[in-house]
């Protein structure tokens, strides 16, 4: 390709810091060691192109600025569980391995590969044992060491997404291995029958080694464990016993769905329904061979015995004894810190980036945030960076995969070489808009890995588009702080103390309950909220307390969804909260912001027209100096202020009755469709050419506390602020609202 990809990548931890606090940067190079240049900049405006105001950055002189030697850093993607008791499985000559499994990728294509269910197999030692699916997807046992290792297979490939009881009974003294795979009955007619195989083997007992669920050991690279043969699918009730069950006993164990051996024989009885919110794996046997999960596999998933009578894992944990593993899960990339920065005293709050560049490739941006001093002066205005949403979208691949994206974009998808990194480096993991290699939805995303699409370049979306708001605040000369969703979740309303006005980003879509509570508290004490976008406060997310850096989303029940959550798996594993849209949980965005998501389309943005309500004396301050009927028929985001994703007033969902809809958009294209949660029954004419429901509403309302809310209802809105040198009716209107909202005089209820 004539447009090279970045040659250096990185990520920051923590994501935000106050002056005097320290951020570590993990930096890795691609294609071998190389020199790279690092520079810290404050981001004011992204590279919006010839039609926009940017790019604009402000260099922050720091000790880490300059040339550095870089080396590649490993990412060992793929989830598994590990029991780090190497001696516990050494020297076994008679034993049995069993589990219920539901494979979800059999066989692996285009490159066939083994998938380990459990065992100690180590590629670097060429020894151990592993119950696995072979390259064809058939149950197999690998045991021994070196060239003498024996592989026994049932030669009967399993069916994807069907539950099986699988077992291997090993008697090295007798020189036999018995395998049995038993399909469990479900509601789908099948001709599949149990398969049992007994074979003679000559193998030595396994040396000491870590025991894995869903992977095998590849070796150690750079001091870090590397794994292979990742299993895709669910594993339920894995167990190991110190006796070689006979073929008849294996048959009984499968039929009775029991272990078939007395617990006294148990080496380990792992209960994967225990400790679901954590990375702990509990062994119920007396040996207490506890383990831990790595790379955040999906827990709180239905097990082999789930019968549909319970939907909540906390109600019937015995039906949730499985973990769903994926070969592309990723939590903490675990890179060695390369650069450390203590935020200099006096550094102003803002959105920052470590700009990395290595010869032969474009720059790579590692975005982080400087918050105001913990104790010290604050601005009265805060921009609340939508870091939960940025993370939900992080490493978004869907536009580069086959599918109908062009029908809702209304144009060819556009990517750049930095986006293409994701396709050449699948180990970077996906976004919550992507599916795993087995087709199941990505419900966990991590900030502890390089993220290619939170940056001031590329697709004008989320963080990049939010910089248009930051740029306008700068142009207005308005002092502001930058705070983050992550900090709001962790600190609650205390983070918002002292701020008169909170401005959201253009698309604050993902919210935890703690974040919503904090905004409501802010309004309840007379604060003001400017919701500067569309499709906000839409999905519930959680931050798993036991696994820092991770975000969880379950796309349950309804909504505009990139994938559909599995039935019975609507409850978050990290908190037990019911997942899905806030609208379905009694907290529709309309109640907080006056409006809620109704339509989306990504081709041409449109404009707003003032309503009669805009002449209401209560709205006079909003339109001070604005005579235009048409607002925002310009901008860098689709050439209009009303576009991408749209929100509208709806009293039945909680929009306050006294709210004023002061402007509404119109004339949207047929790429804009009502979202499915707005239609109980599908009907013709639900697009922007025909349906008056496809619109963005600008809304203002007073809060009983003396606070107030202003909402724009469109993601594209902030892309219009810089038009004509910031002298336009959108910038004027926004400025009018901000100035009044900063005025401590309370708003009276009408």
């Amino acid at each position: 390709m004539n447009a090279p990809m970045p040659r250096v990548l990185g990520y920051a931890d923590p994501l935000s810091a106050a002056p005097g606090e320290t951020i570590r940067f993990m930096v890795g190079t691609l294609d071998g060691p190389r020199r790279y240049r690092a520079e810290v900049v404050r981001l004011v405006c992204g590279d919006t192109g010839p039609a926009g105001a940017g790019p604009r950055t402000v260099r922050l002189p720091t000790p880490i600025e300059g040339e550095h030697d870089g080396v590649p850093q490993l990412i060992d993607a793929g989830s598994y569980a590990i029991v780090e008791r190497p001696e516990a499985f050494a020297g076994l000559t008679r034993f049995t391995l069993q589990a219920f499994i539901q494979p979800t990728r059999v066989p692996i294509r285009p490159e066939p590969a083994r998938q380990a269910i459990m065992g100690t197999w180590a590629e670097d030692r060429a020894g151990g044992f592993a119950l696995l699916l072979d390259e064809t997807g058939a149950l197999a046992l690998l045991i021994g060491s070196g060239p003498a290792a024996a592989l026994v297979s049932t030669r009967a490939p399993l069916t994807g997404r069907r539950w099986y009881h699988v077992a291997a009974s090993v008697d090295l003294a007798a020189g036999t291995v018995s395998l049995r795979q038993t399909p469990l009955s479900d509601h789908t007619p099948s001709l599949e029958r149990p398969v049992a195989v007994t074979a003679s083997v000559s193998a030595t007992a396994a040396p000491p080694g870590e025991f894995f669920l869903a992977a095998a050991r590849q070796g150690v690279e750079g001091g870090r464990l590397r794994t292979c043969w990742h299993f895709n699918g669910k594993i339920d009730r894995p167990r190991a016993s110190g006796r070689a069950l006979t073929p008849a006993e294996l048959e009984t164990a499968a039929a009775e769905r029991s272990g078939g051996a007395a617990d006294a024989d148990a080496i380990a009885l792992w209960d994967l329904a225990a400790d679901i919110p954590s990375d702990q794996v509990t062994d119920r046997s007396s040996n207490r061979l506890h383990g831990r999960t790595v790379n955040a596999p999906k827990r709180a998933v239905t097990g082999h015995n789930w019968d549909g009578t319970a939907m909540d894992w906390r109600v019937a944990p015995e039906q949730y004894g499985a973990i769903h593993f994926h070969d592309d899960d990723l939590h903490d990339a675990g890179w060695t810190p390369s650069l450390t920065l203590t935020i200099p005293a006096g550094t102003r709050s803002g959105a920052y980036a470590l700009r990395l560049e290595a010869a032969g490739g474009p720059e790579f941006w590692v975005v982080f945030y400087v918050r105001p001093p913990r104790r010290g002066p604050r601005a009265r205005t805060a921009f609340l960076a939508s870091t939960a949403t940025y993370l939900a979208y992080s490493n978004y691949r869907a536009r580069m995969r086959q599918g109908p994206a062009e029908l809702y974009i209304g144009a060819l998808p556009i990517v750049d070489p930095t986006d293409l990194l994701l396709m050449y480096h699948p180990e970077l993991g996906g976004s919550t808009y992507d599916t795993h290699s087995d087709g199941s939805g990505v419900c966990h995303v991590s900030r502890l890995r390089p993220i290619v699409n939170t940056r001031p370049t590329g697709r004008l979306w989320n963080f990049f588009l939010d910089l248009c708001l930051v740029d306008w605040l700068e142009a207005e000369g308005q002092p502001y702080d930058v705070i983050t969703d992550d900090d709001l979740h962790a600190e609650g309303a205390a983070l918002l103390e002292g701020y008169a006005v909170i401005l959201t980003g253009c698309h604050p879509e993902y919210y935890s309950s703690a974040m919503l509570d904090a905004l409501e508290t802010h309004l309840g004490r007379g604060g003001r909220l400017m919701y500067m976008g569309g499709n906000g406060f839409y999905w519930r997310v959680s931050y798993p307390a036991a696994q820092p850096g991770l975000l969880e989303v379950r796309r349950a029940e309804d909504g505009t969804r990139a994938w559909v959550e599995s039935v019975g798996e609507y409850y978050h594993s990290s908190t037990g909260e019911y997942g899905g849209m806030w609208r379905r949980q009694g907290r529709a965005p309309n109640a907080l912001a006056g409006i809620g998501f109704v339509a989306q389309g990504f081709d041409r943005s449109s404009y707003y027209r003032r309503t009669a309500a805009s002449r209401d004396p209560r709205a006079r301050f909003i339109f001070e100096g604005i005579e235009d009927e048409i607002l925002g028929d310009f901008g860098t985001s689709g050439s209009g202020a009303a576009g991408l994703e749209l929100d509208a007033f709806n009293a039945s969902l909680g929009s306050p009755a006294h709210a004023l809809v002061v402007a509404s958009s119109e004339d949207h294209s047929n790429a804009f469709q009502l979202v499915n949660e707005e239609m109980n029954v599908s009907f013709a004419g639900s697009d922007g050419r025909f349906s008056p429901a496809v619109r963005a509403d600008i809304v203002f309302f007073e809060h009983p506390s003396g606070g107030a809310v202003f909402s724009t209802g469109s993601i594209a809105y902030v892309g219009s602020l810089a038009h004509a040198g910031y002298k336009n009716n959108i910038a004027r209107l926004t400025g009018n609202v901000l100035r009044r909202f900063l005025d401590p005089a309370p708003f009276g209820m009408p």
Partner: protein
């Protein structure tokens, strides 16, 4: 099912004039077919010089990287959209559109 009448080259000209809309209802129907059939969902643009150059590429199955088509490089998004339209029109109707 709606099918494209290959004689309606006036709709192709309408697209060429305003690739990003607004489009007439007849052209909207044509675009739904061209962008919607399985054969036609495989194109994307790779921005090979920021704000200046875009290269047509073909998406690949199994999560593999897109295949760039260096012979189709453009200095405007409008020109790129027109080329994609022409390729799909020919694929769907069997009849080539003139470049102009």
């Amino acid at each position: 099912m709606f099918t494209i009448d290959p004689r309606r080259t006036d709709l192709a000209q309408e697209f060429k004039r305003r690739p990003f809309g607004p489009h007439s209802p007849e052209l909207q129907a044509v675009l739904i077919v061209l962008r919607g059939s399985l054969h036609c969902q495989n194109l994307l643009l790779v921005c090979t010089r920021p704000h200046a150059e875009w290269t047509l590429a073909e998406k690949q199955p199994h999560g593999l990287p897109p295949r760039l088509m260096p012979e189709w490089r453009f200095d405007s998004l409008e020109a790129a959209e027109w080329q994609a339209f022409r390729m799909r029109w020919e694929a769907v109707t069997g009849q080539a559109l003139p470049d102009r």
